[in-house]
């Protein structure tokens, strides 16, 4: 009850809806950090996952990298990067990307590997080139699983992007950190609620993307 009360109070306060520390600004910042991290992680994870999956090599190396990536604590990494690089976007992006690459990479690899070999064999026998097979057969068939990997990466990024506030950047983490510092628990609870809402919105976005991008022929069970 207490928490709900805090949340309610936070959102009812008109002052929280405007200015550089207002909800729209912080939300926009948070989304910007998250999107940037997701795009960077996908730019690394997708091509590597697709290629290794297609050629069926490097599975063990991938598993190793993924475990290592998951074992690294994001906050520790942030502090380390901050010490090495100082303030700025880069020390924030590195832990977020390190966090997000493993689920994207491993799921993409597994998704491509698990595509039924007979359409791939047929495609090759019909004279499709390797890249065409990858992009016109394996990718569309594996897409539901690949999107699943991107989705879990995105959710992790959204909740972890709060750490940006520790290095004086914005985002929803600001409310949580400042609130704790100022003992303003309304602010803390409000910030946490916004992160949760954003995570749910992320789920909704991925659901819509999957509906639009995945062929009805492979949608079942995906």
């Amino acid at each position: 009850m207490n928490v709900l009360h805090f949340v309610n109070a936070f959102f009812s306060d008109g002052a929280h809806w405007q200015g550089y520390d207002g909800i729209p600004t912080r939300l926009a910042e948070h989304i910007r950090y998250s999107l940037l991290a997701l795009v960077l992680a996908a730019a690394i994870g997708l091509p590597v996952g697709l290629l290794t999956g297609h050629y069926g090599r490097g599975g063990n190396t991938l598993a190793l990298i993924a475990t290592a990536g998951r074992a690294l604590p994001s906050f520790g990494l942030l502090v380390l990067m901050f010490i090495l690089l100082g303030f700025g976007m880069v020390p924030v992006m590195i832990p977020l990307v390190v966090l997000a690459v493993p689920p994207i990479l491993v799921t993409t690899y597994e998704a491509v590997r698990s595509v039924d070999p007979s359409p791939v064999d047929a495609a090759r026998g019909m004279g499709m080139g390797e890249s065409r097979i990858l992009f016109h057969v394996e990718l569309p068939v594996a897409l539901p699983l690949i999107l699943g990997g991107l989705r879990s990466a995105a959710i992790q990024i959204v909740s972890t992007a709060t750490i940006a506030a520790y290095v004086s950047l914005g985002g929803l983490g600001r409310y949580i950190i400042d609130g704790l510092y100022q003992r303003d628990y309304e602010k803390v609870a409000g910030g946490a609620a916004l992160v949760a809402v954003l995570a749910l919105a992320t789920l909704a976005v991925f659901w819509a993307v999957a509906r639009a991008a995945v062929s009805p022929g492979v949608r079942r069970g995906g």
Binding site: P119, D121, A122, A123, G125, G127, R132, V137, G217, V218
Partner: protein
């Protein structure tokens, strides 16, 4: 194929010095037990597998000489589980190779629709996805997809072995019909000797280790297996199956012991034939109803329910001696009924007369009744 050998990296010799001359515009079947190198042989033809030794020539030119994807696009490829693209509609699956060859979308789709009709698929299936089709329908799509760019060569790897026997028979008949119309050079892999005998103009029997055991037209395979392995592989009743290759047109039919169900007692009495203990009763249109004893038939108008069954009638001329013998064996009277293309009785023939025809066919058979009549009768029987 000129002395082709395939040794896999692990040392397995899948195909061993295989030489085969595959005739144009006919169906050549590769048959043999599982693991004898059939798939490997087939896949060397479209270079999905590269031979370790030997050469494969297509119309006199080494297949190594053209770019691999150009070669593959000129050969239709059908595999066991059809291998349809699950994310594409049926019409887009079929349009794959035309699209690869740079056709416009609409032209490729129009071609795909044409092929759906050719392989006996309803046009309403065009916008469906593969998972919405039965196994037999998927296989038809696979064949249509392979034919889409009108390639001169068609490679088929156990295309019908995953469907039930009834559907399989339909697909086999369809393939023979399409082959009649289009005259492709088909190389067909199967482990089923009956399928090989039914479809093949030439049949290559492979033995384990990838060696050629015999390469011959099916009738010759059945009459003169090269060795014990081929004989075993052909199975126990190859004598009976060989009858599929003898046309029934040579049988001498009896035309007199046949009466219509609405005949009078005098008409029936006139039909009683010496040496034939029964009379065949037909309906007024001339279609067979069954056999009756002359005494009973003349006693009153024939009761169709009390007649003896007549077995399966065979189509005189177009069906084989095997069908005729089958009809005779099925009827308790020992007589077979010959009908024309519309199912009307043209005569009857005894088991004994069929036996004589078989003996003379065997005597004159080895050369004459071989490939030509054999191919015809094989289709029907």
């Amino acid at each position: 194929m000129d002395s082709v050998t395939k040794r896999y990296p692990d040392g397995t010799v899948a195909v061993d010095r295989l030489s085969l001359e595959i005739p144009d515009r006919s169906i050549t079947v590769l048959v043999g037990p599982s693991g004898c190198g059939k798939t490997t042989t087939l896949r060397m033809i479209n270079r999905m597998v590269e031979p370790s030794e030997g050469r494969i020539l297509l119309d006199g030119a080494d297949i190594q000489e053209q770019p691999v994807n150009t070669l593959r696009r000129s050969m239709g490829y059908v595999i066991q589980n059809a291998g349809l693209f699950p994310h594409r509609t049926i019409v887009d699956n079929i349009a794959t190779v035309p699209r690869l060859l740079g056709w416009g979308r609409n032209k490729a789709r129009a071609r795909a629709a044409e092929l759906m009709e050719r392989v006996g698929l309803d046009a309403s299936l065009a916008k469906r996805y593969p998972y919405q089709l039965s196994g037999g329908q998927q296989q038809r799509v696979g064949v249509a997809r392979a034919l889409a760019a009108d390639p001169p060569v068609l490679l088929m790897d156990e295309p019908f072995s995953a469907v039930d026997p009834v559907v399989r028979k339909g697909l086999q008949d369809e393939l023979l019909r399409i082959q009649d119309e289009l005259g492709k050079t088909v190389v067909f892999v199967t482990h089923d000797i009956d399928e090989a005998v039914k479809l093949g103009t030439m049949v290559a029997v492979l033995r384990t280790g990838g060696r050629l055991a015999q390469y011959a037209p099916p009738a010759e395979l059945l009459s003169a297996p090269a060795d014990g392995f081929v004989e075993d592989f052909l199975g126990a009743d190859r004598g009976i199956r060989r009858l599929s290759f003898f046309a029934s047109g040579g049988l001498r039919l009896q035309k007199s012991p046949i009466v219509s169900v609405d005949s009078t007692a005098e008409q029936i009495a006139a039909r009683v034939t010496p040496g034939v203990p029964y009379l065949l009763v037909t309906d007024p249109d001339g279609r067979p109803l069954g056999w009756g004893e002359p005494d009973e038939l003349t006693a009153g108008s024939p009761d169709p329910d009390r007649l003896l069954p007549h077995g399966r009638p065979f189509e005189y001329g177009s069906e084989s001696l095997r069908a005729a013998l089958d009809g005779a064996v099925l009827s308790p009277t020992g007589w077979a009924v010959a009908v024309d293309g519309t199912g009307r009785v043209v005569g009857v023939v005894s088991q004994q007369a069929i036996g004589e025809a078989i003996r003379s066919a065997h005597a004159g058979g080895r050369s004459a009744a071989g490939t030509e009549a054999g191919a015809e009768a094989g289709v029907a029987g």
